[in-house]
């Protein structure tokens, strides 16, 4: 059986390195250690107003899911002003290049287009909400 002191030593050796995960086998015993290298976040007492919010959830790890990010800074809308209806709703199937919404940038509507063929899984921002560069806007289930 691996001694707790040995585990501590191994942890000390790897905590200063870039190695994120290590697996050690010794006879019948096996140890897998995962070390987090997450960046320290500065704590401040600021009160951050909701606008413009960022998605709480980072990019999905599922390779079958595609997350569309905003290239613009402005106000998000799904509304197609010509038809008076939303460009997309949940579970709609879209093709690469289809317009799925707009960002109103200083009064000018900039297109948001899908970069994949897929099915709308989630819309992450609300109608009229301010969004920033790189902010996740929608998620799609990729269809091949």
């Amino acid at each position: 059986m691996i001694d707790i002191k040995d585990i501590k030593k191994i942890q000390n050796i790897f905590s200063g390195s870039d190695i994120g995960e290590i697996e050690i086998r010794h006879g019948k015993d096996a140890l897998r250690m995962t070390i987090s290298h997450a960046k320290k976040k500065l704590r401040t007492n600021r009160v951050k107003p909701p606008a413009p919010p960022k998605a709480a959830d980072p990019s999905p790890a599922d390779p079958g899911i595609y997350e569309l990010h905003s290239k613009w800074i402005g106000f998000f809308t799904r509304l197609n002003s010509k038809t008076g209806e939303n460009y997309i709703k949940l579970r709609d199937v879209v093709k690469k290049g289809d317009i799925v919404g707009h960002v109103r940038v200083l009064g000018v509507l900039q297109d948001i287009t899908s970069e994949v063929n897929g099915k709308v899984k989630e819309v992450l921002v609300e109608e009229g909400q301010p969004i920033e560069y790189g902010q996740p806007v929608m998620r799609f289930e990729i269809e091949h």
């Binding site: 976040k41 500065l42 606008a51 301010p130 969004i131 920033e132 560069y133 902010q135």
Partner: protein, 447 residues
């Protein structure tokens, strides 16, 4: 009162502006690139907006992105800091078009003073001495005639240049004739304007600049000088006030020249007028920087005047809160710019994670920084890590205090320029205050 100020900058100057706005009770919005999400300014502001990828040209220099960020957050004023869009007349004009107050002079004034030939002529008209030189070069005969009258060396400068860019020194007729077309081509490619002019080159000048503040009602005050002669490749390293070389008489003449010049062009806000001070005691106008400068805390330490707050107040249409006779100059202040660079490796930038960050403290010490323990210095921007500014009752005390501060300063995990400054502060020429812009040519650090 502004509803909200957006700071169109990053790093320590963004932090400095947030602090001034907070003390005035004005909410702030910081903007940042994807590489700067962890930068302190994004943590201290009330709101922050990501405006683009790491490259400055696509984020901090992206006018559309900055104005859009102001729109979505409801900011009605933008402070540009220094660098990036600070001296861009187009940006100042676009802010005005969108009913956003640009905290700085008008687009017209930035444009006029950004043209060095115009600025020189304006100062000449009101009797401010300028270095002997030509107008914009239109033929090859004119600069050669000037050089034969003034004597070599002469310097070729781009009218739109700055920060040492677009300058070349000539020591003979042949060299001058060769340099002019090269300088014109360089100026066109770097600044979009090929115009150059020729000036007498001073061999051992000091770089002296005067800080000023002006409001919209014609009130102008100057806050004394800073001696910024210690430079490396035209980038200032150490600044001090007062200058160890200036007589009271010259100081007063410079101050009066500044006030006349600033009034003449209808300037409003904070700015700096730069001069070359020659060994014979004469001074010559060089240029006006139409923005807050990196080294402004040196003046703040000596005068106890918050330049950034005054800048914001005057942009809100308020009158300057004091008169020239109210300005009190006390003691000596010195600033060292600490960079994340390896002084033993020709000042190579050393981006990376700061493992442990400890700042000096105690009487008379101020540190302006955007860094903290665990902060990763991105490789995309300038390598300024912190500005250490000290105040002392006299120059000796200020120097001793700076040495102590640098000993206390700890930033592990990266290389810094602190060892360079520790040696510089031992230099007999620096201790005697006898230095010019050529100081580093004779100062041997890595030996």
């Amino acid at each position: 009162m502004f509803r909200k100020i957006l700071i169109a900058n990053r790093g320590e100057i963004a932090v400095r502006i947030i602090r001034a706005a907070k003390e005035l009770g004005i909410p702030t919005v910081s903007v940042h690139s994807e590489a700067d999400e962890q930068c302190l300014h994004t943590q201290l502001s009330d709101q922050d907006v990501c405006i683009g990828p790491a490259l400055s040209s696509e984020s901090y220099l992206n006018i559309l992105a900055v104005i859009s960020a102001a729109e979505i957050t409801g900011a009605d004023a933008i402070h540009p800091g220094y660098g990036f869009l600070a001296e861009n007349p187009k940006f100042s004009g676009i802010c005005k078009d969108h009913k956003i107050t640009f905290i700085g002079p008008s687009a017209e004034v930035i444009d006029l003073l950004g043209n060095k030939a115009y600025a020189r002529n304006t100062m000449k008209e009101i009797g401010v001495p300028i270095t002997p030189g030509t107008d914009i070069i239109t033929d090859t005969r004119e600069p050669l005639e000037f050089a034969s009258r003034a004597g070599y060396p002469v310097i070729v400068k781009a009218v739109a240049g700055g920060g040492g860019k677009g300058m070349r020194v000539a020591w003979s007729d042949e060299e001058l004739a060769n340099i002019i077309p090269i300088a014109q081509a360089e100026a066109k490619s770097a600044f979009g304007n090929p115009d150059v002019y020729v000036e007498k080159f001073l061999r051992e000048p000091r770089h002296i600049e005067i800080q000023f503040l002006a409001d919209n009602y014609g009130n102008v005050v100057h806050l004394g000088e800073r001696d910024c002669s210690i430079q490396r490749r035209h980038q200032k390293l150490v600044e001090e006030s007062p200058s160890p070389s200036l007589s009271a008489d010259v100081r007063e003449k410079m101050g009066e020249a500044v006030k006349k010049g600033v009034k003449k062009v209808g300037y409003s806000g904070a700015g700096t007028m730069e001069f070359l001070y020659d060994t014979d005691g004469k001074f010559y106008f060089m240029e006006v920087n139409t923005r807050i400068q990196v080294e402004h805390p040196v003046t703040e330490m000596r005068t106890s005047i918050d330049i950034v707050k005054e800048q914001i107040r005057t942009a809100m249409g308020e009158r300057l809160s004091f008169k020239q006779e109210d300005v009190e100059f006390k003691g000596n202040a010195i600033e060292c710019r600490i960079n994340a660079e390896d002084p033993y490796m020709n000042f190579m930038p050393t981006p990376g994670v700061i493992q442990d960050f400890h700042l000096p403290g105690g009487p008379g010490i101020r540190v302006d920084t955007h860094c903290y323990s665990g902060y990763e210095i991105p490789k995309f921007y300038d390598s300024l890590l912190a500005k250490v500014i000290v105040w002392g009752r006299n120059r000796e005390e200020a120097i001793a205090r700076m040495k102590r501060a640098l000993q206390e300063f700890r930033a592990s995990g990266i290389k810094t320029t602190i060892p360079f400054y520790e040696k510089l502060l031992e230099s007999p020429d620096f201790l005697k205050g006898m230095y010019s812009t050529n100081f580093l040519e004779n100062f041997k650090f890595n030996c």
